[in-house]
Subunit: 322 residues, 2 copies
């Protein structure tokens, strides 16, 4: 059995706990939290984060489930000194720096640190690489959604007159259909995505002026096609509590002048954190197995042979899935 | 530069020749054929197959482009004794035997033999593995088409009264839509695919009886929804000379009782052999690089880290694609 620790118990940590139940070859040793352990509502063992070093030889891999802004950059290098780690660090621009810092620690301490797994970065990155490697003459497109965007929801909730709100990012299906037909398109983030807001107004707020404040917000909504629905608090609670997400990675390319090919990878997820956690769990299996083989250092989805993700051996995989 | 040989010059061999022009880090050393070399119409160097052993130290990898029925099982083990090889052996049922025979030779001679690349087996296999590893609670579905099926076309052309014909395999889009909506479906090869035939009748043949002979052919058409269009020879030549193919690998799974996720990988290919060749070329790059690192033995798409497929280094891949 591969023994696993969870660091951090928000949506992602809970998702890892759920997904470990689907893994016949893995078991949860404990959840490690900065909160008071007794305050955590779960049947799994919960420990104070400081005590994690007592588990040095009792866990094959720990999955870092904190935020990418401050938690992971801080905890990653500290924990990689003692444990094999997996994280879903998703600050794309900072990945090279984070990779270097994790690689230094993991090389020096002979651990494996799998960084930036999940679906984007993660499975989407893998498909961007495969699409480009197989069809070097072509264009790659990433579309996100339909999905709940936490950052955009936060921005709307800060607008005066808004009591509560959610925001969905919606891919431009017309553009996807055009790519499917092999047509040339003009792709930018603004044309590729629409934004849909479901918002509850404060009592007495002026809908027209609130709508204008949202739609004119630079970076977040300006220059996007944005639709705003004002709904009741009861409707928001009833219909918008999920955390769906997904998207496409598409490679549209040519092998010769005559022959066009379309490569399209799509995810449609009821729960963004639970699916991200599912990917983390598969890469945690890989991290533990690589470590057993003596591999060390930081790794990404690009560096790991797919067979390491499966609990089945090569012979069965070739017979059943090849 | 990675130096490449092509063995066999049918549709696939021509596809590899075309795709090598898109690979900045690879060069074609020669095409090796059982035919008279001077009879081959190409600008590339062509040699008799028997002379390939003279090129032992002049090629980093050879791509086997013969048929899976007799060519590859015979040539593979012979050539893996001297060269790193890549093939698109596609006889699914025989893959374990072929793997073992190639692994024996490659281990003994310290070469790398990448077997069964292409898109199915190949990219579709990779997605069957990833989908299952990430969503262990779920079902996988493979749909083929819309695509030209050589074997079914051959079967129709053997029917009395048929002068010429092509057959397209068409996936059942209703079933795919149902899976997309997370519905339970009954999947079998018959319900998942429809068959469409475009046929030219011999003069004086009876259309109704020919139609009946086709539709009642066991294994090939019986129990499939089959549509037959009788067309003229001119129409067949004008509209049905391509070799399109493609399909879907779908994983429909749950991480918890509430949360359903859909994983859908789709290919839509103008030319089956040219795209298969594009995949072969990327795996030939991987084979040559693995061999330089001292790796030996038979490998499949499951065993090769994706980064090996790309001409770019890890730092660039992380910065640009992760």
């Amino acid at each position: 059995m591969i023994k696993v620790g969870i660091v951090g118990y928000g949506n992602l940590g809970r998702g890892v706990e759920v997904n470990l139940k689907n893994a016949p070859d893995m078991e949860l040793v404990g959840i490690f939290t900065r909160r008071e352990p007794s305050s955590i509502n779960t049947d799994s063992p919960v420990y104070a984060l400081e005590s994690i070093y007592d588990f040095k030889d009792k866990m094959d891999v720990v999955i870092l489930c904190g935020g990418s802004r401050t938690d992971i950059p801080e905890q990653g290098p500290m924990l990689a000194e003692y444990f094999n780690t997996v994280d879903s660090y998703d600050n794309h621009a900072q990945i090279p720096i984070y990779f270097a810092s994790m690689d230094n620690v993991a090389q020096a301490n002979r651990t494996v640190a799998v960084i930036a797994t999940g679906w984007d970065p993660g499975l989407f990155s893998l498909n961007r690489l495969l699409g480009e490697a197989i069809l070097p003459q072509g264009e790659s497109y990433t579309f996100w959604g339909k999905g709940l965007s936490q950052g955009h929801g936060d921005a709307v909730r800060r607008v005066n007159g808004i009591k509560d709100a959610v925001q969905y990012t919606i891919p431009n299906q017309d553009l996807i259909d055009q790519i499917n037909r092999g047509e040339e398109i003009v792709y930018d983030s603004h044309s590729a995505h629409k934004r849909e807001v479901f918002a509850v107004l404060e009592e007495g707020a002026d809908a027209a002026s609130v709508e204008n404040d949202i739609k004119s917000m630079p970076d977040y909504f300006e220059n996007y096609e944005t639709t705003i629905h004002f709904i009741t608090e009861a409707e928001l609670k009833a219909d918008h509590q999920g955390l769906p997400h997904g998207g496409h990675v598409i490679r549209s390319g040519y092998t010769s002048e005559e022959n066009h090919h379309l490569y399209d990878f799509k995810l449609q997820l009821d729960s963004n954190p639970e699916f991200t956690a599912a990917v983390n769990v598969a890469y945690a299996r890989a991290a533990a197995r690589l470590a057993r083989e003596g591999v060390i250092g930081a790794k990404t989805v690009f560096d790991i042979a797919p067979a390491y993700l499966s609990p089945f051996d090569g012979e069965e995989l070739r017979q059943r899935l090849l």
